[in-house]
Symmetry: D3
Subunit: 329 residues, 6 copies
């Protein structure tokens, strides 16, 4: 079975106290699952791509739950690597209100995916006939063996002719900028698409420019193999209200996505929904469509709780066509 | 027993996912009941009118629940028509966040009220000694027999000397503009009060004017029998924050209601609370008071969940007198 | 893609008030999905069969939710027939306490599957290489066209050499015993496996015998094509505590399953979990294993909320091996 | 407007922690309303009597809530006495599990009804044309003025020819047995119907007999004016499982109600549902029917949460006819 | 055992409907505890002071809950006065949305603390070696004996050389401005620190000035014993969005705290968190630090539900250092 | 500050799905904290002992929550060892229904307490003047360094003349029987009190006897230093209904505690509540009182959710005096 998009990475159980409670005060936790690469696969699937997700999971109810949620969204999980050991990583989200930002507490050490090793995934079988591969800077940051396994995946993807997409996604709790630069530099040098933010571009690659456009351009020059560099752009006048857009640098020119004023329900996973939406548009129509679907889908993502996006292609189309804010009956 | 206000129409079970969840993702639904004409009766009762509500309901727990909720608010249900057949209509509400508007999914086909027929309600008994009758454009849109039953009610109300109030309430999922124009035109031609919005005036009667005031004036000229034409006016800078007001055209002049900046908890039922508040003020003091109570009550409605309004006359009076936003101890 | 088991039938949104509330008093509904044939597919998948589920669904969030839940359990939904019309059926469950039995209120008329017609499903594609087909007496009871579509499926399944399994599942609200006898008699006459209860055997086929064993035997003689006749047996000393077992008549002899004393959390779907468990055991090892897995899986089903079973094969094995009631650490 | 049954007494806000939590550990309280006499009115209304409820309430949201809940069940509240002072009484319920019994913590001092005085209710208007009056030993125990107001009500009820029904309902936290004997002795001497338990008969009137039958007989001899004496009988093998029945002594003979084995969801209000069911049967058909409806309705009451009963007459009839414990579809 | 801060006052059970429901419509209440002086002790403890809280409580689960919550935050309760009589006060909070302000309904009459009398608390033991004492204008307003007990506490605190801090906290439902002026005037004349708002300064002491600064200065001149006068300043453009700051007048000069734009989750207890934060900063570093910690801590308080603050000193430091609104990973 | 009882061990965040849901199916987790030794300290404190709890915790909101909950119950936490590293252990509880037992899934590896080392706790300061020390077989099983730290604590407790109490508490997921025997044998040889079950006595020390009494006697002979050996005894006819008692062997004789028939709400922590209740009775009155309070308190524990017991000494006394199952008003 061939796929339009295959992603690799960690999904954690996500636990969050309701209604702006602090973690320390809560007696209930809402349960979701989330992780950058699953979020991307779900997003792309919502719009119509056939997607598969690869990870390593402990064979217990928490691991099953993660695979179930992927399947619920139609994402193939037949290449997940199962183990009886290790654990399922967790993370806790506290939702904020100005001037208290939302925050995340990770408890992901020694998770099953951190112990993945090259050779555990049947990449040739999975990549054969498939179109694109996506991962992020989180996966190689999990452990040295995870970094090796990520490198193996990227190399095999290239070898099978897949489009390789990377989201830089720097996580300071997992590794240093220097470590990230070494590993990600090597991976980006093999990629076709790079998605990042101004901050991460500076932290990982030291790219400091006066404009978002220049950041994209510089990255593109640094890694001439890249066909598209995408920068997502968020302004945060308050915690509950943000603006959101993205731009692309491709073939020497800048393309700008639409900008939306968002009432934030849950911004976690926005960048991932952008990546999934972009890849849908890119693979079906090109960079410009990718930018539009990426921004639209990730905008809608931020209006529902959970890491995963539940919007439809029709909703993206209506939003892009200028749907109003009146109740839809 | 005589009533100040009698309303006729459908009430549905209203099911909504909590906390901005999409319907597709939820595992819990909050249960309310709602329907334009019950909402109006409840609103008027909150301010002090004696009200009765007429509908047709299936004799099962869902039907009982609807009658119970009317009674909970002191609305008389002794003229509800009960049947062992048909079903209770449902609707699902998804609450939005900018730029995703709230939306409603109806599942109301073959409901008991859609199968109402002329002759099933003892209108003479109910109208005798009563003061006003209100229905909306939704009731005749439910089915041809419902349209006939609505026409019967309006004609009998006129015959018994009741004030007849109509809310145009166009629902595109129920009928076409042409159908609405034919049926509603005939009903409005018998009414004393017409409540609508700029959009509905255009969609149903083709009234397109440069200002809200002109819309009201034109409707008033088209239907010279109307003593009052009311236009409710909403601005939606964001989904969570709207402004809300209304104006009236009566006896050749425009009256303007107060305007409120609202943090939206639940805007469903606002127009109905306006109608109920207006009818209270109109029947007890006149058009100007009606406009003030209508806007105040419907403003407060939008700050609590559910179709029904829970505010009191004292709260309306305080709001109209300029109550501040500090905590009331 | 070939499957071990393919099922056909209706899945509804299942709405239930929490904590023994009466429907009339509730303000919250728990949302699940359920329907006999999906329940069977999920049960079989939990134990390891590759399953597909066929139904007809409205293309709206409720329809999507049903397909999602099937996929969450790994059940293939690629042959679901989608429509923009009709509706998704609903049912409400009230959980009882002695001496008040639990009860179900259906609101399923005019659902999408009731309007299914022969020719809408690509049966040859689906059946090619597959092993078994299962449906119940509910599907043909939904409408005359649904009966035709069911007959088509059974005939094509036979033609493709699949094991055909039927659960009699008589629903008095959908058709009369005479209607059921006519339609089901024709289907059972083509089946390999019949699952039913003493009550349904009497209501549909007029089989009244002094023992469960005799009921099975008589059914087997009436329909000599049947390879296995299964009778599920429930005793209800109280609403919260039941005993549960099943027996099989096959090749002229009676096989008895284990009997369990169950503290009932939710008995809806027990018969379906039995069918799914039986088909797993039957297809992998034979009638006796089928009986054991059927009873074990359906017993565990009754200890968790929802129509669907969440137990694992390991849990069935432990239960059959005599696991105790002490906490498992 | 005339009523079949009028009751007088206190209704409190009832707050209970969910799922067997201790009050000290909870962070959520479920809100119901409850009080013996409202419970009786609701029970009788469920079966078909026209009922009115009289109390004294503070004009605040908690007082409104109590009146609303009465109205929700169709109970007339137009004779409720409203005040701007005092407070709404509260009580907290902790649900038990063997060997910990359920328990109630009252916070009802200085409630509005405790300050009721004779002359505040328009009894002649309310009693004119009505059929029965019911109150309990709780109302006069609330305060000396409440005792006077209760006496006034009983006397006026007798004067207007109403059937007077009393439930002894001794509350040790409100008064001493001696106080209860003095006040209740005077009231029972004017009553037609007395409902009580063996324990209360002993605590208030010192009636100690070897059998329930003898208790009823002795009470009947002590108060020869009584037409019926009813004893409700509960056995509590465990907290979650009780048996429940009642007997009547009338015209020199004993009548026995049916006995039910109950899985207890919430036993608070059972005695009141018995009284309401009895009065329905008594007023429409006689003592025997009263006993049957009383036991059936109060049995069903114990299977749903809250003080109030939500069962229907049809459900009582089915239960009395021997409905089984299988799921009702 | 010696404490940095000891507070005296009432804590109530706080009951609030979820999600902007009106009290009249709710069926669930969230349970917290709150009261000005406990709130202050908790706030100070969060930042590092050793605190003790004194009150009078009824020995029942509600009283235990209040003491438990104090202990949960590390506040010493060994000097709480316990009684078997009286009751635990309650208050209900309705959360508002513009233009409906949040509101509080008190049910606190006859609470245990209202019946406190001088001599019940072992002040000398508690004050010996301790550093500061804080109470508010609510405590003496509860009853004449509570006023005497408050006066006793202040006098003994002065005698033991403690810093005495008062929050004026005028409650119109408890006493008149004249009564407040008489009692509080006497107490403020013995205090070192006075915390109040422009409104309360005017209502209680008739101080009306053109600026906040002038109000502080005038209070300082009126009560020359005061070392610091603090004014908290809130602007309420909408219910969900406020600005918040404070200023201090000390040693003839004005100090200004930082100003924050707050998305309001729950503003109840903000003033108390300010007092607690101020006292921490004042006792450890001086007035300026007090102002900064007071504003920071009370700002963070408003972003979580409940009267009590759950922020940490580190979070205050980050906020004061200019933390952004981006998610913290 | 001196304590009656000091305990040492791990407390975890306890997460459990509501209403018998399987972990795999849930979307909400109830949050409690629990761990054998904290449970014991809380239990003893509920009855009146002054207790302190020692553990090692990560300085984050989860660690704070654990310390807070200890403090909420009045348990001193001033000797908790805090670290910025490691993590807070978690465990998940699934509540069962016959024949599915409840089960626990641990995720406790690399928790802060597992990395405790000798010398980190100021035992001399804590033990000076204190009366008893308690830990369980879980603490030394966490890691080799935790075993060393436990040994250090026991030795120092003995040296300071404290009563040393041990609960054998064998956890097969943490170590082998042989490992447990080696470590626990050494510790039990220094203890005064040993609490265990028949199963653990066999698994750890190979004690297999025909009666509970003989098990206690044999253990007592094996470890002649033991002053008391306690065996808790549970029968599990069903998951929701157990019997529970305990016996003691002391000074050559058997003492038997009362036996209770329990409707199980949550049995986790029962053994710990027994230990806490026993230590209270033992330290204040002797072995017989210990046995009675131990059984009574642990019985009540099983009727409320959570690891911790919320019952009072008065409730234990009432239960031991034969309180009935009728509602307590």
């Amino acid at each position: 079975m061939a796929f339009d998009l295959i992603t690799l990475g960690e999904t954690m159980l996500r636990l969050s106290p309701p209604h702006f409670q602090r973690l320390e005060q809560t007696n209930t936790l809402e349960v979701n699952v989330g992780g950058a690469e699953l979020n991307v696969a779900v997003a792309a699937q919502r719009l119509g791509l056939r997607t598969a997700y690869v990870t390593r999971l402990t064979r217990n109810p928490l691991g099953f739950m993660i695979a179930n949620k992927a399947r619920e969204h139609g994402v193939d999980t037949s290449h997940v690597v199962w183990t009886d050991g290790d654990r399922v990583g967790l993370y806790f989200v506290e939702f904020g209100a100005s001037p208290r930002a939302s925050s995340v507490l990770y408890d992901r050490q020694n998770s099953a995916i951190a112990n993945i090793r090259p050779g555990e995934v049947e990449w040739p079988k999975l990549f054969s006939g498939s179109r694109a591969f996506h991962t992020t800077g989180i996966t190689p940051a999990l452990s040295p063996t995870a970094a090796q396994a990520t490198r193996e995946a990227v190399e095999k993807a290239k070898a099978h002719g897949l489009v390789v997409s990377l989201d830089l996604n720097y996580r300071a709790k997992l590794w240093t900028p220097a470590q990230a630069r070494a590993v990600m530099g090597e991976l980006v040098a093999q990629a076709d698409i790079l998605i990042t933010t101004e901050e991460d571009a500076e932290r990982v690659f030291g790219v400091k420019e006066p404009s978002f456009e220049k950041v994209a351009e510089t990255l593109s020059r640094t890694f001439p193999n890249l066909k598209v560099v995408l920068i997502t752009i968020r302004e945060t006048p308050t915690v509950w209200r943000n603006t959101w857009t993205a731009l692309a640098y491709t073939q020497g020119q800048i393309l700008r996505g639409p900008l939306f004023d968002i009432e934030i329900v849950d911004r976690v996973g926005a960048g991932d929904a952008f990546a999934g939406g972009f890849l849908y548009g890119y693979l079906t129509q090109g960079v410009e469509a990718g930018l539009r679907y990426g921004v639209a889908l990730s905008t809608l993502k931020q209006t529902n709780p959970g890491d995963l996006v539940w919007a439809t292609k029709e909703e993206c189309d209506r939003l892009l066509a200028g749907a109003g804010l009146r109740i839809v009956r």
